[in-house]
């Protein structure tokens, strides 16, 4: 829900999968889901190490 995050002034936004499971997708086979989860969390960690500036940045 990056529109919601943006509206509330969040500066680093990583799009997740869906509201009930933002950091993964239970519909995927377990190994693929684990890889996806790792990818999303890694993106978030990378984002924290970048200068987001004053405006919202969507880091897909």
């Amino acid at each position: 829900m990056f529109s919601m995050a943006k509206l509330h002034g969040v500066r680093r936004i990583i799009p997740g999968v869906a509201i009930p499971h933002p950091c993964g997708d239970p519909r995927l086979p377990t190994e693929v889901d684990i890889a996806l989860r790792r990818q999303i969390v890694q993106k978030a960690l990378d984002a924290l190490q970048t200068d987001a500036g004053d405006s919202a940045t969507i880091l897909g």
Binding site: M1, S3, M4, L7, P15, I19
Partner: protein, 439 residues
Amino acid sequence: MSTNINIRLELASFPVKDVRFSRQTTYNNGILEINKEEIVALILEDRNIVSADLDVAFPNEKTRIVNVRDVVEPRIKVSGPGCVFPGILCTPITVGEGRTHRLSGVTVMISAEYRPTLKSGLESQKTGIADMWGPAAADSPIGSSINIVAILKLTDSVTEIEAYTSIQLAELKVAQRLAETTKGMPHESIEIFELSEVDPSLPRVVCICSYPSHRESPPIGVAFYGMIIRDSLPTLLHPNELLDGAVTTDTRRGWSGRARTWDYMNHPLVLGLLREHGKRLNFLGVILQRSRFYSEAEKRVAAEATSQMARLLKADGALIVSETPSGNNFMDTTFTLQACERKGVKTVLLTIEWGETETADALPFNVPEADAIVSIGRYVREFKLEAPRKVIGVKKGQLVSTETLSTPFDPWGELTIMAFDMAMSVDYFGYTYRTCKEY
């Protein structure tokens, strides 16, 4: 044969001034007599229902109804295709034509107890409370109507889907049987609803009604012609279809967190638009939109499809209404509004506000295009209710709870309760005069 697009519904009213138990089930001069044994036997045809009883709650009496599940208005089709509650009481045939009889000023309400298998979560069972006097009665259409309450107990082995079905069938069968008494009787008034050809200069208006659904839930919830809608894109319908009960709701959840079947049958916005058709506007139809999609992309797809439908109908304007103010649903609603405006369809949003605290945001999300909003009241409100003289639904000493894991309470005492835990106390569609004001 040419296509018949002249859809015309005559809705004949048979007002009920009193309800009495009697040896026969009849309607005469505003008096509805009910043979209790006959109605109970009709309910007990369902083997999932172990016991059934019937009671009547009158306005201004100190009566409290508990375990409320769903409410309908008794209606029956006397001519035209299909039946009232199509897809449930008859095969799914497009309704909204011919003549329908309604017993007005009266409802059929179900108070039901069962052992839930789904203990918590968005789709677990919930019950509502209805008071016939005091502040809660003044706040709900139930408070000013005579309510015929069927009290059901289901078997312990019942599944959630079976509970939903049994409660619904009991409710709709009783409503149909009672409305049957109007056949051959003179009506008091009649209203004709049709979307006839009108002055082409009148503004073209569509009504977008959204309702939440969950993909992962059991097949229970808002249904269109008896089919539970879970993962649907928008559906276009003639407003008359709603009047004939084409849309029904989850009969296991009688609280005010969602609209009831009664609300869809008496949808004030749809009725208002029908009555203004040809006078101030040209009513094009109702778009039923499933909301609460899980990802932003899905929400956008539904919003784009809905707004495209409005554009293809050549709508000048859209009235948008949703059965919940929750953030997840509200995003779908605002995206739809935005997509309509971008396609040149002007919008007015009709919504309740949260109003949890003085400082809380009234709405969970907004877009710049949402610049015409009608506030229809507050979601978070508290009632302080007096002790009743009579309780329908449980015996003296028996406790009730409004959801499976909440603390049970004594319904015979005073009550401090949130409006959304009452039955039909939150107005999503605008039938009351409530609004929010900042002082």
